[in-house]
């Protein structure tokens, strides 16, 4: 079957089904995935079980492992929660807003000699249902919920899967490899095990 027309997934489960189909092939059409994810209209009752917040920092909640081809997860951002500047270990990264807003700030990869901090490329505030895309070839980013009153929820797809990345100090460009963990998997809380 031709995949030229964008099929609008009505439910989250529909979206996951179509993603499985798309990722069964070896090549990824970035635009196709981005349009597909953007076309799903967020319905909280469909993802509420994955939206588990922590008061101290943002959480990563695994939704689907995509037959090993991708990770689909829901991130929950309390008021003021943000990430450090990070890369994506050469994987494709799609980020769709399910609730609230997130500010994304893009940065250039740091040079050896940094004076005056890492270079900001651009910033924008993503609205509900919008889907952003990033890859190491585009640059690095920081994602934050700048609202002091509203929590935010986002749906992320990473392909191929990865469990570690680099974080960067904005002032010096110094990088640090970190392992990423899940707050919950398939709706079940999974405390971090060393």
């Amino acid at each position: 079957m031709e995949q030229t027309e964008v099929m609008k997934p009505e439910t989250l489960n529909d979206l996951i089904k179509v993603l499985h189909q798309i990722f069964s092939s070896d090549t990824v059409n970035v635009e196709e995935v981005q349009n597909l994810m953007e076309s799903y209209e967020s319905k909280p009752e469909e993802w509420m079980e994955y939206a588990q917040f922590d008061k101290f920092r943002y959480t990563r909640n695994l939704v689907d492992e995509g037959n090993g081809k991708f990770n689909l997860m829901i991130l929950c951002w309390g008021e003021g929660h943000g990430s450090s500047i990070h890369d994506h270990t050469d994987s494709h990264c799609f980020m769709k807003l399910l609730q609230g807003q997130l500010k994304e700030t893009l940065f250039e990869w740091p040079d050896h000699k940094i004076n005056g901090g890492m270079t900001k490329k651009s910033e924008r505030v993503l609205q509900e249902n919008q889907c952003a895309y990033i890859h190491d070839s585009i640059g690095l980013h920081r994602v934050e919920n700048v609202s002091h009153t509203e929590p935010a929820v986002s749906l992320h797809l990473y392909s191929p899967q990865f469990d570690q990345c680099n974080t960067f100090d904005q002032r010096t460009g110094h990088r640090n490899t970190v392992k990423m963990t899940f707050w919950s998997k398939y709706g079940e809380r999974t405390p971090f095990v060393r």
Binding site: M48, G80, H148, T172
Partner: protein
Amino acid sequence: MDVYEGLEGEKVLNLSRLNLDNLDLDDVGEERKRDTQQLFLVYNRFIMLPGSICHFSNLVFLDISCNRLAFICEDILRLSKLKTLVAKNNRLDEFSLPKDFGTMSLEVLNFSGNRFEEFPSEFLNLQRLQSLSLGGNRLKSIPAEIEQLTSGSKVLVYHGFRPECATKLYMQITVQLALQFSLMCNVILRHFSLIIQTQTDFTKLKHAALHILELLYLGGNSITSIPPELANLPYLSYLVLCDNRIQSIPPQLAQMNSLRSLSLHNNLLTYLPREILSLFQLQELSLRGNPLVVRFVKDMTYDPPSLLELAGRTVKSRNLPYKPEDLPGNLVRYLDLASKCPNPKCGGVYFDSCVRHIKFVDFCGKYRLPLMHYLCSPECSSPCSSNPQSDADSEDESSVPAHRMQKVLLG
């Protein structure tokens, strides 16, 4: 799009997004009102909290966010079981609250996105409060009364039947202990004629309000400084001060052993007090968007010490004995404030007069943060400040073991 957890079914009443400006709910039966434990009135047109709210006598949770509330009436005080009150995105300020608001049993209070310019004093009386959110208001300061009692009050205990023939036992204990001690002693007073006199007026003592506060969200205001009294909240684990105008952090914050997460991003900090290294429970610290000093600034200003300070230093560094009865109370308190010079090779102390020395300390071996040292004099330099212009290696005593400060959201 309201996402909420909680009981489903009969005990939740959701009246959100109904264009309501009154709560004359004729079609909601009296029994239903009495049974309701969670009430949502989000996204309506209320200007005042409706008086009929008191009919929901068993209400535990009330969310009246995103209305036009300018005033909360006294009727709310009749909701004796109310534990959570959420009133985000309204038009409330410090004059909107009823006088006895502080007598409520609230545990969670969220007034973010309103128009508070002053920290409402009524909040300081909420004995059961665990979580307080005032993000996105117009606060200019945090009151020192946030911890109403100072610790370290002195308690004089007379043992005996009459004060004039009593043996004085002089103790310095924390106020909380003093309170318990006095309550206990009042009970046994009649039996043992134990007389207690204190320098603190016990009639004003009560358990510190906000004593059990765990979460304090003050992000997105106009706060310029942090009172050291904030450190006296013994259970505070999550403190958010991002997006304010804070220029410095009081070193007393280092006493907050309960602090797990500290949010300071987007302020006006140029350095941090070195004491911050002692917050061993701290796992998250955000510092981005502060003008943190990157290069060592060689400009060290030094005010010569006063005679009082020199005398105090002599007393302390030579361990001259003195008893509290020997000195006026203000001098005893002054001597108690002596700080040890952080230079390990120096045995000196300082009081008010100190040299600020910004030291770059390797943080978890990864980052460089400007931490402020106080030294007793410009001559008293730390061993490895010989080349302050470069990113010098940090001293052993200042380097933080890797297991501390694990997730430092810097940059």
